[in-house]
């Protein structure tokens, strides 16, 4: 396995035993993602993309096949070791942001470091959290609570939280699902900027518009890979924003 391979899926299967009927959510997916890639996993509901995402995110174990994350065979690990893998190797960004309410942005970002197996001194925790918030352009909002932040800002806090443990993989599940179109482009801009800095990103989405910001699109159907190809005519967030502003000015929505 090449050193720069972040994810290697080998004939991954997931079967749910519910009652008498076995549900085959994922039926043999093999996939390799290298460091620095920006991949969109697409598919309609029921295509198995959420199940795949849970397994890539080490939240769930496959019932068949093998999964190597950053050189570790995750498919054989126990609960506690899976938790450690999530803590050290994966940063999650969710559709619903999933921030802790009544907890400042800074403390939300510091939270994953509480669960590090190696103790991080509190001043270092603070420094790293501030750093991550600055990276997503929220350095001045560290003391704000989630209910004092807009949706886009909340998602930026979530991204900062995902980055704070320097993961090998940033895993985003419909990160723009709860955002309006302009904010969605802004968030995709954040992802593109992070990817330019070398961070590997895997994003699950069902919106083609959003997927166009990535570099590679994997389309699933019925638990299998339908297509896997590089994105043509890739959208660039800055340009899209400019275009959007021009449109808005035309209808006098923005000054």
């Amino acid at each position: 396995m090449p050193i720069n391979t972040v994810i290697k899926l080998d004939a991954i299967e997931k079967t749910y035993h519910t009652g008498e009927v076995d549900v085959h959510a994922v039926r043999g997916i093999s996939l390799e993602i290298r460091a620095g890639e920006f991949v969109a996993i697409m598919g309609s509901s029921g295509s198995g993309k959420s199940t795949l995402m849970n397994m890539i995110g080490a939240l769930d174990r496959p019932t068949g096949g093998h999964y190597w994350l950053d050189g570790i065979d995750v498919s054989t690990l126990d609960r506690d070791t899976l938790a450690d893998v999530r803590n050290e190797k994966i940063g999650f960004v969710f559709q619903g942001f999933n921030l802790l309410s009544r907890t400042s942005a800074l403390e939300n970002v510091e939270m994953p470091m509480l669960y590090n197996r190696h103790r991080i001194p509190s001043h270092e925790q603070r420094a790293r959290a501030v750093n991550a918030l600055e990276l997503v352009g929220l350095g001045t909002r560290a003391d704000h609570h989630p209910n004092q932040l807009s949706g886009g800002q909340q998602q930026r806090v979530a991204i900062a939280r995902a980055l704070v443990n320097k993961p090998a993989l940033l895993l985003a599940d419909e990160p723009t699902g709860n955002l309006d179109s302009q904010t969605s482009i802004e968030i995709m801009g954040v992802f593109q900027k992070l990817n330019d800095q070398g961070i590997t990103i895997v994003m699950v989405t069902h919106e083609l518009d959003v997927a166009r910001f990535t570099k590679r699109m994997v389309i699933l159907r019925d638990g299998k890979i339908l297509t896997d190809e590089a994105v043509q005519n890739r959208s660039v967030a800055e340009k899209e924003l400019q275009a959007l502003r021009a449109e808005q000015q035309a209808v006098k929505l923005a000054s």
Binding site: N54, G57, L59, D60, R79, D80, A83, D84, R86, N87, E88, F92, F94, N98, L99, L100, R102, T103, M111, P112, L114, Y115, N116, R119, R161, N165
Partner: protein, 401 residues
């Protein structure tokens, strides 16, 4: 995960529902408060009784004469002429007897200063104040010489002094007992009421010889007060006195009774101890109820915060981290409740002590018991909810609405 971070999270979670946290704690507060309050009051009562018993004198053994039976009528303890001054002298020679006083009792009208007063006239030896642990407030006790010479000397109690010589120093004055003039040589310090509600200061004490020859004409004594050297030899001395008197009286039947203060103390304190255990039992039940309240609220809390648990698991919290977090929260609840309960219990007993003039003692042992039991309640009642939280599936928990 570090403990300080867990404590912070717990504090935040408890602050979020202040009213609910307070109500949850109330069970433990009442339970611990009741234990501490009950124990403080009963220990205070026990202490008071112990003080009163030691007020009777230290390491005192009392020998009562037997009951007097004539023609089937029995006179009760102290009525039979079985104890004599010779018995007293014999007992005095036993080892570990440090003081002894034969006691003769009678009531008489006492006159002085144009006033009169009916009081108890005791005939005692000069050892009496030492045996009874009783100070002479002014003047002095009569002497052995007074006993030998049947001196008409008297030591009077505070009440008698107040009744016959109001606003006057009475040492050196004369009182008349059955028309005989006695000179007051000393006044006893006030001792107050005894265990049975009698005024101990309502007394006139004269040499036993004077009592037996001048006031009454008796050849026997009512009882003998003996002081043992220390509390360890009391029962030995008690047995020796019994053996000695049985031999001296050569009677088949034991015509006397030997009692020690220790037995009295045990009888009296056993009652208040039983009361204390009863109260502590009731309090323990309310502590258990408090624990159930904590468990209930922790279960609600786990359900409410399912999503938070999911988030924490997603970013790498192990099952043990979640378990510890919720356990700390439950223990924090019960520990704060326990602390408030201890403060409340002590405060309550202090209030009672202040307004009801009852002594209270809060034993450190029971405070430790309260601290430990509230911590145990937190752990026991928090464990099931915390364990339930730690066993959640992160995927399900994240999806929970």
């Amino acid at each position: 995960m570090r403990i300080i971070a867990s404590l912070k999270i717990a504090a935040r979670a408890l602050r979020r529902n202040k009213m609910r946290s307070l109500l949850t704690m109330l069970g433990v507060i009442i339970g611990v408060g009741a234990v501490i309050g009950a124990v403080s009051l009963t220990s205070g009562a026990t202490k008071q009784v112990e003080d009163q018993v030691s007020n009777l004198g230290e390491n005192v053994i009392t020998v009562f004469s037997g009951n007097f039976t004539t023609g089937g009528m029995r006179g009760g303890w102290g009525s039979a002429p079985t104890l004599t001054l010779e018995d007293t002298a014999a007992i005095r020679l036993l080892p570990n007897v440090v003081a002894i006083s034969p006691e003769v009792r009678d009531r008489a009208q006492v006159l002085a200063n144009g006033l009169n007063w009916n009081t108890q006239i005791l005939g005692e030896s000069p050892d009496y104040p030492q045996i009874r642990n009783w100070d002479i407030a002014s003047g002095s006790m009569f002497s052995d010489q007074d006993v030998k010479t049947l001196a008409k000397s008297a030591v009077i109690g505070r009440t008698v002094a107040d009744q016959l010589f109001p606003n006057e120093n009475c040492v050196g004055q004369t009182i008349r007992i059955r028309n005989l003039p006695f000179q007051i040589v000393g006044v006893l310090a006030s001792k107050g009421f005894n265990l049975f509600g009698q005024d101990q200061d309502d007394v006139v004490i004269v040499p036993y010889s004077s009592h037996m020859h001048r006031i009454t004409t008796r050849t026997f004594v009512n009882s003998i007060q003996v002081q043992a050297a220390n509390d360890k030899v009391i029962s030995v001395v008690q047995q020796e006195i019994t053996d000695l008197l049985l031999a001296r009286h050569r009677s088949k039947e034991q015509d006397f009774t030997v009692r020690s203060q220790l037995e009295l103390m045990q009888t009296v304190t056993a009652t208040s101890r039983a009361m204390g255990f009863l109260l502590a039992g009731v309090a323990a039940v309310s502590l258990v109820v408090g624990g159930i309240g904590i468990m209930n609220i922790m279960l609600v809390s786990v359900t409410e915060r399912t999503r938070e648990i999911g988030i924490r698991m997603a970013v790498g919290a192990r099952a043990a981290d979640i378990l510890v977090q919720f356990l700390i929260e439950a223990v924090t609840l019960s520990a704060i409740g326990g602390a408030i309960g201890i403060a409340g219990g002590v405060g309550f007993s202090q209030l009672v002590a202040y307004f009801k003039d009852m002594p209270t003692v809060t034993p450190v042992f029971w405070i430790i018991v309260a601290v430990v039991s509230s911590a145990v309640i937190g752990i026991v009642s928090g464990f099931y909810p915390a364990w339930k939280a730690s066993q959640l599936d992160p995927i399900e928990a994240l999806r929970y609405e």
